[in-house]
């Protein structure tokens, strides 16, 4: 890295690349890993819904909107 690039902080360092890559990969992983009970919960929900109607699939997604965590459930009927 040249003196001037250093001085003006223009050039991307390997640490800043690492930081950006980590942020991206973790944003993705947290969404899928933060709810380890998801599979069990899905299976139980399926059982409950089956009592009333024919269900094909349940899709649950998690979202974080500022300070509120949201679980969105989509029930696909047969």
């Amino acid at each position: 890295m040249s003196f001037f690039a250093n001085l003006f902080g223009k050039k991307e360092t390997s640490a800043s690349v690492a930081r950006d890559r980590l942020k991206l990969v973790l944003a993705h992983e947290r969404a899928s890993n933060s709810l380890p009970y998801m599979e069990d919960m899905k299976a139980e929900l399926m059982e409950v819904i089956k009592k009333y109607t024919k269900v094909k699939d349940i899709r649950i997604s998690s979202q974080n909107n500022q300070n509120i965590d949201i679980l969105e459930m989509e029930i696909v009927l047969k």
Partner: protein
């Protein structure tokens, strides 16, 4: 009533057991009655870091299975009367532990010790889950590299979901220790700095340990580096020990230019 502190990391080889051995000595030196428990069942290691490998007769699984009583398995440290050690078994049967036995053991230890330090195995399998299940606090060790930080993040998520405290709606008190930081690489922009790691993991810091060659010889000798008054990493561990016990302690100046680091090695 003692507290259970689990030292964990996700990734292996980041210095979990070394950190635990040093903090165990550090807190014992601060006057606390400490027991260091090797929960890495099947892969015994903490004994060598503490230099106690020749004294093992019984292990933690023997205690849990009722093959011996606790006092038969506990090993007193050579230098500190406050420090005890409970070794891992070397059986490879991972299913040997169950949660009820773990809880029972920890409840017993809590009555006799102020601090119960659990060395968790690397990975996120059964053994790890047992080590975090009844933790009051967790120390997450990460080196400043992408794989270690990523795995640390994963482990934090699992503690928040699966620990007994989390399931009761409480929170395990979690802190980060950044291990093996190289100030000159950070300065050059070739290593994640402390703030980067903390921002990503979104947890408070409790210590930064600089990369230090003396750790290797101290491991060779089975003498935790914290007992070496000249080593900068030893000083870092002493400060972390005091912080864990609630004291506010200034952080080491690890800047390259004119800091402590430079004065020692410059």
């Amino acid at each position: 009533m003692g507290i259970v502190i689990t030292v964990t990391s996700g990734k292996g080889g980041v210095g979990k057991s070394t950190t635990l051995a040093n903090l165990a000595v550090g807190m014992a030196d601060e006057g606390k009655k400490v027991v260091a428990v090797d929960f890495d069942i099947g892969l015994r290691n903490l004994d060598m870091l503490l230099g106690l490998e020749n004294r093992i007769v019984y292990n933690v699984v023997d205690v849990m299975e009722g093959k011996c009583n606790l006092n038969q398995a506990l090993i007193n440290d050579k230098h500190s009367k406050n420090l005890f050690f409970l070794p891992a078994s070397q059986t490879s049967d991972k299913n040997i532990l169950d949660k009820a036995k773990v809880k029972n053991l920890l409840d017993t230890l809590k009555k006799e010790f102020d601090i119960i330090l659990l060395d968790s195995p690397a990975g996120i399998e059964g053994g790890f889950e047992h080590a975090i299940a009844y933790a009051d606090r967790a120390l997450i060790i990460s080196t400043p590299d992408v794989s270690s930080v990523r795995d640390a993040d994963r482990v934090i998520g699992i503690i928040d979901a699966k620990s007994d405290k989390a399931q009761r709606g409480e929170e395990v008190d979690k802190h980060v220790i950044i291990n093996r930081i190289k100030p000159e690489l950070v300065e050059r922009g070739d290593m994640l700095n402390t703030d980067d790691v903390l921002n990503i993991l979104a947890l408070p810091l409790i210590g930064v340990v600089p990369d230090c060659e003396r750790v290797i010889s101290s491991t060779n000798l089975g003498e935790p580096i914290i007992r070496d008054k000249k080593a900068v990493s030893g000083e870092a561990y002493r400060r972390i020990s005091r912080r864990i016990l609630g004291e506010e302690v200034e952080y080491l100046d690890l800047s390259v230019k004119k800091g402590f680091f430079k004065r020692i090695f410059g």
